[in-house]
């Protein structure tokens, strides 16, 4: 096996556990070591590392209950330089295969942290606009959703294009809702995306869902930046 990211050969170390239960490794130890899993105290609403139960950003969201449509977000990794490199290659250069780096972690963290929700909720990946989807050939959020062991409900669609990267935080928070729902859903939903930055995109999606009768929306994301 070769590391999906750096191409170096993976030599899996032999322990009793790997001997009895070999899990295939998709990246090498060094690359894996460069990724930071969020650990310790975190904000209960957005998963950011935090010593207080709710971070400033989340308290700010709570000032606007009409917009604060997402009950909580759970993220696995913290954003760092190595993660940024992987994401750039995966999403922007279109190296689909790199998504498999996260397959194991995405699945196991979900099983551990979303145990109760997993029984009742459906998963909806955050969609891309049609142009963007054609350009990239795939949607990274859809790929991540495929790793989850629950039914998917891909009824959300994006009507205006995504140009988030160039906007400031306040612009993003106040912008018009880019999502539409093709079919109303009355089940609780887990939104799936690669990254939680300000939480605006996820809340836009959640708002549309709730307006159409969805009882609860939470999100499960790979990275909290």
């Amino acid at each position: 096996m070769k590391c999906l990211f750096c191409q170096s050969k993976i030599t899996s170390e032999v322990t009793w556990r790997t001997l009895f239960y070999p899990t295939p490794m998709s990246i090498c130890k060094l690359c894996n070591h460069s990724l930071t899993v969020i650990s310790g105290a975190r904000c209960s609403r957005c998963s950011r590392r935090s010593d207080v139960p709710k971070c400033i950003d989340c308290l700010q969201w709570e000032q606007f209950p009409a917009r604060d449509t997402l009950r909580y977000n759970y993220s696995i990794y913290q954003y760092n330089e190595c993660m940024q490199e992987i994401i750039t290659k995966w999403k922007y250069r279109g190296d689909y295969e790199l998504g498999y780096i996260f397959k194991n972690a995405f699945h196991t963290h979900f099983q551990k942290m979303m145990l109760t929700a997993a029984k009742t909720h459906l998963a909806i990946p955050i969609p891309l606009s049609v142009e963007r989807q054609v350009e990239r050939g795939f949607n990274q959020a859809e790929m991540l959703a495929q790793f989850l062991p629950i039914p998917k409900a891909p009824y959300l669609q994006r009507v205006t294009s995504e140009k988030q990267a160039t906007k400031t935080r306040s612009e993003r928070m106040g912008s018009a809702n880019p999502f539409q729902l093709r079919k109303p859903i009355n089940k609780p939903i887990i939104l799936v995306d690669d990254i939680y930055t300000t939480g605006t995109t996820l809340r836009h999606a959640a708002k549309v869902l709730i307006e159409h009768g969805c009882p609860e929306v939470i999100s499960f994301t790979l990275i909290r930046s």
């Binding site: 290659k89 279109g94 050939g137």
Partner: protein
């Protein structure tokens, strides 16, 4: 049919001929693009060819199954294969074809006497220069020029390039190092001031490559097919051929079948040397520097507890002693270290030491560079303009880049990154200028390696041969 003679055509041919491009690499609007397709002036070809057992990427030649992957998009019934090998050049996916120019061929301009360089070649240079010119006139040929560091090999190319331009040929100079592309562009442009020249590399402003002379980093050749009459490959021994077979594939394909390949090297690999000895490969040898002085012979300097000191971030004691005894204290210092980690570890202590030894006045006169340093270009030019007195570097500055008067120290020269070729190249950084043709080169080590002995032996040998010319 009338369209075929429209004044638009030559420009299109100039832009598109000799290339294999993705739709997004062709900067035309859909109307023009569709028109060209319809008129069969652009032909789509499959980007990934599939046979029973394997796939072949038509851009990079990759045929290793594990270097392909499949995109499973829920909107598409079947997955689509893409090439992971040449992804950094823009993704090749089987659903998007490559396009090849199929219209009128472009005739490049014939330049009667294009060379504006008025310098004088040495005898050894002149001999090599004439060989290069003869080989360029001879179709389907290849020549290796073995020229020691500082022999002035760029100047040896001018006569050949001038001849090629006289014939209306298209020329590419390819090198594995982006620093070298940047350094060559102004020199070649100055020597052929009336000929359009472009530089192509990963993030060059120029993307298209439409000029008669192109200076390119190796990867850029992946977009070309039968484009050049002459390809000159600089530093053939440094080509990451062994790491990436697609680069060899790309250089071969970029040359027209009738073209000439010129290889340049200062440090041929053993295999190439054997071939030359057996006269299997046509070659020309330039053993002397352009200023006529011999190559500086490295001094080996044993350092006890070298690695122990380095782990603590301390430069070896022997290095300090050498600093005090340098013959010419005015010379700038180029210090090589084997790894980035070590470079960073030692930088601050080194700076303090050099201030203490009065080599520099303050920490602003010293800096360090490595391959992924974003300010690398700027630091190199600061050093060249003598705004920096000391530059600490990994092997990225081992070749190509020229500084007029430096002393060179390799700390931990026994490390495996310093193979024979690297050591000869590094030694070749010293004594480049006619005003200061000597320079000191010291290998600080904790145990002499074969590479070190062989490097010294080969430098001495070239000096010996050079004396007879």
């Amino acid at each position: 049919m009338a369209k075929k003679t429209s004044p638009l055509d030559p420009k299109l041919a100039q832009q598109l001929e000799g290339k294999l491009l993705l739709r997004k690499e062709i900067p035309f609007e859909d109307t023009l693009f569709d028109f060209l397709l319809e008129k069969n002036m652009l032909t789509p070809i499959p980007s990934i060819v599939k046979t029973l057992f394997r796939k072949i990427c038509q851009r990079c030649g990759n045929r290793t199954n594990s270097r392909f992957a499949k995109i499973h998009d829920i909107n598409r019934k079947h997955g689509a294969w893409y090439c992971r090998n040449c992804l950094m050049m823009g993704r090749i996916i089987e659903t998007e074809p490559l396009y090849r120019w199929n219209g009128q061929p472009f005739s490049w301009q014939k330049h009667e006497a294009a060379c504006t360089w008025k310098g004088q070649l040495t005898k050894a240079q002149a001999k090599a220069s004439e060989m290069v010119r003869r080989f360029i006139l001879q179709p389907e040929s290849s020549l290796l020029v073995w020229a020691v560091c500082g022999s002035g090999k760029t100047e040896m190319l001018f006569s050949g390039i001038e001849e090629a331009l006289r014939q209306g040929m298209r020329i590419c100079i390819a090198t594995p190092r982006i620093d070298v592309v940047r350094e060559l562009l102004p020199r070649i442009q100055q020597a052929f001031s009336a000929v359009p020249i472009q530089a192509l590399y990963g993030d060059s402003a120029e993307k298209q490559g439409t000029s008669q002379i192109i200076i390119a980093s190796t990867h850029q050749l992946l977009r070309f097919e039968h484009a050049f009459d002459v390809i000159i490959i600089d530093e053939i021994d440094a080509f990451p051929y062994h790491k990436d077979a697609s680069l060899a594939f790309a250089t071969e394909r970029a040359l027209k079948p009738s073209g000439t390949m010129i290889y340049l090297t200062a440090t041929p690999r053993q295999k190439q040397r054997t071939k030359m000895l057996l006269k299997q490969l046509k070659h020309v040898f330039v053993p002397t520097r352009y200023h006529g002085y011999p190559l500086p012979v490295p001094i080996m300097c044993m350092c006890f507890a070298l690695q122990k000191n380095l782990v603590k971030g301390n430069p070896p004691r022997a290095f300090i002693q050498w600093l005090r005894l340098r013959q010419n204290q005015q010379r700038q210092l180029l210090i090589f270290l084997p790894t980035i980690a070590l470079t960073e570890k030692i930088a601050s202590n080194l700076s303090e030491l050099l201030i203490h030894e009065h080599v520099i006045k303050g920490s602003a006169e010293i800096s360090s560079v490595h391959a992924s340093d974003p300010d690398r270009e700027q630091k190199i030019s600061l050093f060249r303009e003598k705004n920096l007195f000391v530059l600490v570097t990994t092997t990225i500055l081992e070749r190509g880049v020229t500084f007029p008067a430096v002393d060179v120290a390799i700390i931990h020269a026994g490390h495996s990154v310093f193979d024979e070729a690297a050591l000869v190249q590094i030694a070749g950084r010293a004594g480049r200028s006619a005003d200061d043709p000597t320079g000191e080169v010291v290998f600080f080590h904790d145990g002499k390696t074969n590479a070190m002995s062989r490097a010294v032996r080969s430098i001495k040998k070239m000096n010996r041969i050079g004396r007879w010319l």
